[in-house]
């Protein structure tokens, strides 16, 4: 579509270190349309949005609006050009009122003094226009998640906004709340605001958007009109790359014995009525997109949260885990998602990091330095952790090697059940492969492995069985052998699909 109107991306590229997040992406957004931007995690959607918001600058390429080149050097530039952003993680000042939030950073002043009355008045008019029944004086921390999200929309519209960009705005909203948001967006569309809607939820995109652009691995795939395509077509476009060769033999238990059995586990609003079994020696992938409740499920099994309902059995024996300590004692370990926040001690050495869970589990009063050094060195050799030694702090290691420490230290306890949450998030291909090998070796030893992941190739390469979760419920199960990217993705994005 060779037009000069609307918003045009021209050969936009951006790399972060060795990672090419965007590779020459070009597409047009027609003024006044609702345009969906879709792609898997890591497809480059967020980077593109950050460029549009002025947070990140492109290495190459241009963005044009109404035929004029945009120079977006800072978030302020983007705002002044009429580009409003609604982010996935809600940027809400909980300590301010609704009006305070809307005008935060752009307060109306006269002679340096805040014009409270005027800001309140304009907030009220704006909220009325959007049919949002909240008071301008309500404290933001009293609002529900949905209203906080709508507040972000209102904030974007408080100043002249010609392009409204929404990044996964419904992640934490219920269906009714989503309906309200969509009603507001429809009204904006009718008023002529250009919408760029980023999501991996197919039904939402198909409901709102006139045209859909798909990105994959940082590259542009296609733009299609909604009425011309089916959801399946878009799914294929999102995932349609060559699969990495499957390297593991499939798990084939003649006599499956359950290592972990979860029965009717629930903790609303995160997840409800979850029942699943992981057999000894089996690798089960728990696939779900962000917000599907997979992390929360693992953390609840691990005793970080108390479930409202349901039972957990390890090796056929019911356990009541009220703390991670109890879970570890019962033979469950969790390799957490955020290794920096949840897994590593940067004030301790690599040795301490590697032996801590095992030593904590075994109890004992004294620190046995020589024995620990041997144990740590063995782990370093086994998992090929590249480090200057075991007595250096972990921040001297690369991200992939830090990740290996977090995985290896847990496996040193020889657990019966291993829960892994995004075990290869943010690591390079080589380290990813080695972590997969480690998981397979643990399964071969007889451990039941439950791997939560939103990385489709990883799920397909690793799992003997795939359980798909969406919005806190299990959508279905697939055997690892029979699954394809399309079949998994369809379960994860469609409502009511089998």
């Amino acid at each position: 579509m060779p037009s000069t109107a609307g918003l045009q991306f021209r050969d936009v590229s951006r790399s972060f270190g060795a990672v090419r997040a965007l590779r020459g992406v070009s597409f047009d957004v027609v003024e006044g349309e609702a345009h969906g931007l879709m792609g898997e995690n890591g497809a480059g959607k967020s980077t593109l949005l950050k460029i549009l918001a002025g947070i990140v600058q492109p290495d190459a390429g241009e963005i044009h609006w109404r035929g004029e080149r945009l120079h977006l050097g800072s978030p302020r530039d983007a705002l002044e050009r009429g580009i409003g952003m609604v982010y996935q993680e809600m940027l809400c000042f909980e300590n301010l009122t609704v009006a305070g939030n809307i005008f935060a950073g752009r307060e109306i002043t006269r002679g340096g003094r805040l014009r409270h009355a005027e800001m309140r008045e304009r907030t009220r008019a704006l909220l009325d226009e959007l049919h949002i029944p909240i008071s301008p004086d309500a404290p933001a921390d009293s609002l529900s998640t949905a209203y906080r999200q709508l507040l972000q929309v209102a904030r974007a519209l408080a100043f002249e906004c010609r392009i409204l960009v929404l990044d996964e705005p419904t992640t934490s909203l219920t269906d009714a709340e989503t309906d309200h948001l969509f009603a507001v967006l429809e009204r904006l569309k009718a008023r002529g605001t250009t919408l760029l809607y980023v999501s991996h939820r197919l039904p939402e995109v198909f409901r709102l958007c006139d045209r859909i652009t798909v990105l994959r691995d940082g590259a542009y795939v296609e733009t299609c009109a909604r009425r011309d395509v089916t959801p399946d077509h878009v799914v294929r476009a999102m995932v349609g790359r060559d699969l990495p060769p499957r390297t593991s033999a499939f798990y084939a238990a003649r006599d499956p014995r359950p290592a972990l059995a979860v029965d009717g586990l629930g903790r609303r609003p995160r997840f409800t009525n979850i029942s699943l079994t992981v057999n000894e020696g089996e690798i089960v992938a728990l696939f779900g997109l962000v917000g599907s409740g997979r992390s929360e499920l693992l953390e609840t099994i691990f005793g970080l949260y108390r479930p409202e309902a349901g039972r957990v059995r390890v090796g056929g024996r019911e356990i009541h885990v009220s703390s991670p300590r109890a879970a570890v004692a019962a033979g469950i370990t969790l390799v957490p998602e955020e290794r920096q926040r949840q897994g590593l001690f940067f004030n301790l050495t690599v040795r301490h990091n590697l032996v801590l869970p095992d030593r904590t589990l075994r109890g004992g009063l004294l620190v046995r330095t020589a024995e620990e050094r041997r144990a740590a060195q063995t782990l370093v050799d086994t998992w090929r952790i590249k480090t200057a030694g075991v007595e250096v702090p972990p921040d001297s290691l690369s991200g992939g090697n830090q990740q290996k420490i977090v995985v290896a230290k847990w496996l040193a306890t020889s657990p019966k059940v291993i829960l892994l949450d995004e075990p290869t998030k943010g690591v390079d291909v080589g380290a990813k492969f080695e972590i997969h090998e480690i998981i397979r070796r643990e399964a071969a030893r007889g451990a039941g492995c439950l791997v939560a992941s939103s990385d489709l190739p990883e799920v397909l390469a690793l799992a003997d069985r795939i359980i798909v979760m969406r919005e806190g419920v299990i959508q279905g199960q697939l055997s690892g052998a029979g699954a394809t990217e399309e079949s998994v993705m369809r379960l994860a994005t469609h409502k009511g699909a089998a």
């Binding site: 691990f302 970080l304 703390s323 991670p324 300590r325 879970a327 570890v328 004692a329 969790l334 957490p336 926040r341 949840q342 897994g343 590593l344 001690f345 940067f346 004030n347 301790l348 301490h352 801590l356 869970p357 030593r359 904590t360 589990l361 109890g363 004992g364 009063l365 004294l366 620190v367």
Partner: protein, 319 residues
């Protein structure tokens, strides 16, 4: 030597030695008069008074390493001191049980603090601020503003364990410092304290009993503050409610100067003790400098800042 340089306590020792050298030179007497600073009697005096801070600083350092803060030591010292003194002077108890009762008061206040932090989840700053008020208040209520004259009941020439009374405080400090240094470095418990201070979430995920670790550090801090309160009463010879007012800040400053990071996860017991000696020397020597009387608090404040800044620069250089 290289290993020494890498020891965190190395720079603290160097600062202490430089400080002693400086005051020895500055206060060098004219003619053949005895040196007012560099003499055995004065050093014993410095040791004796520093030990009172030092015993509490051992506990404060452990709390800081665990990622917390304890503002109550000064007030706990006073409460433990007056309880011990009252039982000894008014209640007619023998010395040892009276003082043991004082230490129990410290245990109790530590338990209260950890209850507020672990069970009610108050931030440590607020919890210990509250406990500081409660313990100081109780000290005033118990004494009704009176002094308990301990020294007149202590028989002349009191020699516990056959030692001169002046040596009691330094020896108690030495014993406690060695015990807790070993507990912190060679025992699983100590490593748990470092782990909780370094990354509480990771500690929880590692199966460490985080609530129990937190409880232990505040109970230890309370008990050690009580011990130092008892020692203060014995050294000064009287128990009164305004004892050790404001000590908590000097105690925290000593731990920090000795290498403890208020962000948690870093520091040492020995460092905290060395930190109290640095302050002890300052408090002893500054008043001997003519005309410096009104400057000593200012100088102490500057010294804290300079030492911590220099230490951070050194840390970068060593890394």
């Amino acid at each position: 030597m290289k290993k020494l340089w890498h020891l965190r306590e190395f720079s603290t020792v160097v600062i202490l030695l430089l400080e002693i050298l400086f005051f020895t030179w500055w206060l060098w007497p004219e003619g053949s008069r005895p040196h007012p600073f560099f003499n055995a009697g004065n050093f014993l005096l410095i040791l004796k008074y520093s030990s009172i801070y030092g015993i509490a600083a051992v506990g404060a350092a452990i709390v800081i390493i665990s990622g917390g803060i304890d503002l109550a030591p000064g007030a706990v010292m006073a409460l433990a001191g007056v309880v011990g003194a009252q039982l000894f002077v008014v209640g007619g108890w023998p010395l040892a049980p009276a003082m043991a009762a004082g230490v129990l008061v410290g245990f109790a206040s530590g338990l209260l603090t950890s209850g507020l932090i672990v069970a009610i989840r108050l931030p440590p700053f607020i919890a210990t601020l509250g406990v500081m008020g409660i313990t100081r208040g109780l000290a005033f209520i118990i004494t009704e503003g009176q002094y308990f004259d301990v020294s007149s009941r202590l028989v002349g020439g009191w020699r516990p364990f056959g030692l001169p009374a002046d040596w009691v405080a330094p020896i108690i400090l030495l014993v406690l410092a060695v015990i807790f240094q070993i507990l912190m470095t060679a025992f699983q418990w100590g490593r748990s304290v470092f782990a909780v201070g370094g990354n509480e979430t990771a500690a929880l995920f590692s199966g460490i009993a985080v609530p129990w670790v937190k409880t232990s550090v505040y109970v230890i801090s309370g008990a050690l503050a009580a011990v130092s309160g008892i020692v203060l009463v014995l050294v000064q010879g009287q128990g009164k409610a305004d004892l050790a007012t404001g000590y908590e800040l000097d105690i925290i400053a000593s731990s920090v100067v000795g290498g403890a990071s208020l962000a948690g996860g870093r520091g040492s017991v020995i460092g905290a003790v060395l930190g109290t000696l640095i302050f002890g020397v300052l408090r002893n020597a500054l008043p001997q400098i003519p005309g410096a009387t009104f400057y000593d608090r200012l100088i102490v404040g500057l010294v804290v800042i300079v030492i911590v800044v220099v230490d951070q620069l050194l840390l970068k250089k060593r890394a």
